[in-house]
Symmetry: C2
Subunit: 417 residues, 2 copies
């Protein structure tokens, strides 16, 4: 295995196979690197913009509140969710300095009712919509802002001069700009993700530090030293051999939302013109008890990226107090992390024996730096992968289609009533 240990705490291991990048891709890397335009990979380097975001968040925190409600969907919320859940867990309890972060994504009467019940203390509502005209976001905004109380605050993240921008201006809400040239799924390191995360209590300077650290490696023209390039080439090579599914197998359940974020990144960046990789997300060790049979015994159409974390911070050691050694041999006296490693090793050996191709990413820890590096590496990887597939990484032409049909349906209800 080629192992690349990066400064940002992100190691990528792949089979020691010679990879060569097509000339077209090498040219694209040069363009990407040397562009003067606003582009996603530069977002973490906007020091003054990020400082402003952090300062505004600090001002809100100084005024005091308990809850942050992120009103957004898709690219407007998935990056924030990915980071927040990775760092704080699935159903987080606020820790020191943390606020409660809630997400109003889809239209859901039950969820919104539950959320409203929880908003008994002062809250900040952050409406995130690039276009400013997202149906779900605006509908949730209507209900939530109608309930605003004295000490509640509201801010908006949207494109400069969108309808939402002017709407917010009229109402005196704070407005943060989303980067116009950057699509939602590539915008986590802008105000879109950073502002609500900072409100919640995440150290965004550590997050972007991780992203910054890995960037230079990811822009190298070397298939050995550039983890994003290596990853893209490996996935693409297997795609050409019929591995049309790319499974991200996360041996850390709190990375599930990173998986969902990457699912959008893959789906919207590669799925066009009849092409596209099918992104799936598996959670270890749980899914070994759920879909391992399919993975090991079913169709051979999958490339897998195992993701795990080296340092779990704390650990549990299994005692034999309860006499469990008679149930499972070889576990008493072992640490959770060692058992987890053994299970991951077992799964990888089974994959190898079945000749199922995979690569591996190891985070140093679930730290802001590692998570930041992971997201940045994956976005750059996706730009390369789309280039290899011959599709535009940054558009999503078909999404307009169901939206148009929805508008017609909505209008039809209107005229009937």
């Amino acid at each position: 295995m080629v192992q690349k240990r990066s400064n940002a705490g992100l190691d990528v291991s792949m089979n020691r196979e010679r990879l060569s990048a097509p000339r077209k891709l090498l040219k694209y890397i040069e363009e990407l690197k040397n562009t003067h335009a606003e582009i996603f990979w530069k977002l973490p380097f906007d020091d003054s913009g990020i400082a402003k975001i952090g300062k505004l968040a600090d001002q809100y925190r100084a005024k005091g509140f308990e809850n942050v409600v992120v009103i957004g969907i898709g690219g407007s919320s998935l990056g924030t969710l990915a980071v927040w859940k990775a760092l704080r867990g699935a159903c987080p309890e606020p820790g020191r300095g943390d606020k409660k972060l809630f997400f109003a994504e889809t239209l859901d009467v039950r969820r919104l009712s539950r959320l409203l019940k929880k908003l008994r203390s002062p809250s900040v509502f952050v409406v995130v919509s690039k276009s400013g005209t997202t149906t779900e976001t605006i509908a949730n905004t209507a209900v939530l802002l109608d309930q605003m109380k004295n000490k509640d605050q509201a801010a908006v993240v949207t494109d400069r001069d969108s309808k939402l921008w002017h709407w917010a201006q009229k109402r005196g809400f704070d407005i943060l700009e989303s980067p116009r040239q950057v699509g939602g799924r590539y915008s986590v390191f802008s105000a879109v993700g950073l502002f609500p995360l900072a409100l919640g209590g995440v150290d965004i300077s550590r997050l972007v530090a991780g992203a910054k650290q890995i960037t230079s490696d990811c822009l190298l023209a070397s298939t050995e030293a550039n983890p994003a390039l290596r990853s893209a080439l490996t996935i693409w090579k297997h795609w050409k051999r019929g591995k049309i599914i790319h499974d991200t197998f996360l041996f850390e359940p709190d990375l599930e939302w990173f998986g969902k974020w990457y699912r959008q990144l893959t789906g919207e960046s590669t799925g066009k013109g009849g092409k596209g990789l099918m992104p799936t997300v598996s959670i270890g060790t749980t899914d070994l008890h759920s879909v391992a049979q399919l993975y090991l015994g079913g169709p051979d159409n999958r490339f897998t990226t195992f993701v795990s974390v080296r340092d779990h911070g704390a650990d549990f050691v299994i005692s034999n107090k309860s006499g469990i050694e008679e149930l499972v041999p070889d576990i008493s006296g072992k640490a959770f992390s060692a058992i987890l490693d053994a299970i991951l090793a077992g799964a990888k050996t089974a994959y190898q024996k079945k000749k199922l191709p995979f690569m591996e990413i190891k985070l140093a820890a679930l730290s802001p730096e590692s998570v930041g590096a992971l997201l940045q590496m994956k976005m750059i990887e996706m730009a390369y992968l789309a280039n290899l597939l011959g599709v535009n990484a940054f558009d999503n032409p078909q999404v307009e289609m169901y939206k148009e049909e929805t508008r017609k349906s909505l209008h039809a209800i209107n005229t009937k009533s």
Copy 2:
């Protein structure tokens, strides 16, 4: 569309295409229907067994406790999770008569630490393992039971005479029997699912009533009147045409864990001998903003089942107080449910225009009856689907493979230390 409205509050709509069942399958239905053996579909009909489970749960509830911790993984927890989350939501707050239900599934130091912090009041630990030798379950049991306090209680659900059975007997824990002839993924209507759900506060008699109500339809030899048969034939027919992915697109986020349960059901029942359907789970409307581009513009290799709920109980009506009509036309004055219906209708029209095949399941409500009917219908459907694919629905031969490798890895650590 053929629409089948069932008594159990489960409507299944499919294209009005003539379907005919192979003779082999019709014979199989007869066998399934007339078997005298212990078999999954009969579990909801075990009135006295279910009454006993309910009674034992009542005894625990009378003694008093606040938390239920389900220690199990895969088939030992997914059914319970599917029902609990569908009825109570993703991060539920206990309602009237409800206890807090926690799940210790994988080995996760962070999650288990968080869980331990939450168990400050009396708890019931339910260890669920068919074989009684599941590594994750036993490791979690070791840590959790070591922390047991005076008022905590423990019970075990396992196969009669398993090692765990005898281990629990020695310690005086209550023991409930898991149905020996029924695999984990088909066992939700046994003590495996019903006991923890009853402890949590779910009315299990309503849950099994829904399952019972739909069963007779699902055992009919009619492709028109049998929703399980119709669903299996439709999925299979499209699988033969290259739709190797079966996407369950849930327009109700709290059904996400039903999706995960169905993912195991599909994966372990069909994934063998190089065959198998790839189950994916999408959540509406969220994933329209995440993977719709791939679904509408990417490879044409997917059959979709849309699942939605007719009655949301309450509703929100969008006011124009906040002036949102200038942002999204045609939503002010509308109810959430109407907008949601419009978005689902928009998505379906887009699928139709793109000739992407789908069927539809509508639950009357997120009630125990509807959820019970849905799970029972899907398990019977899966038995038919496996028959059509020519694989054994009930085994999982390859799972042993990574377990064997894990045992070796675990043993290796042992000898080194």
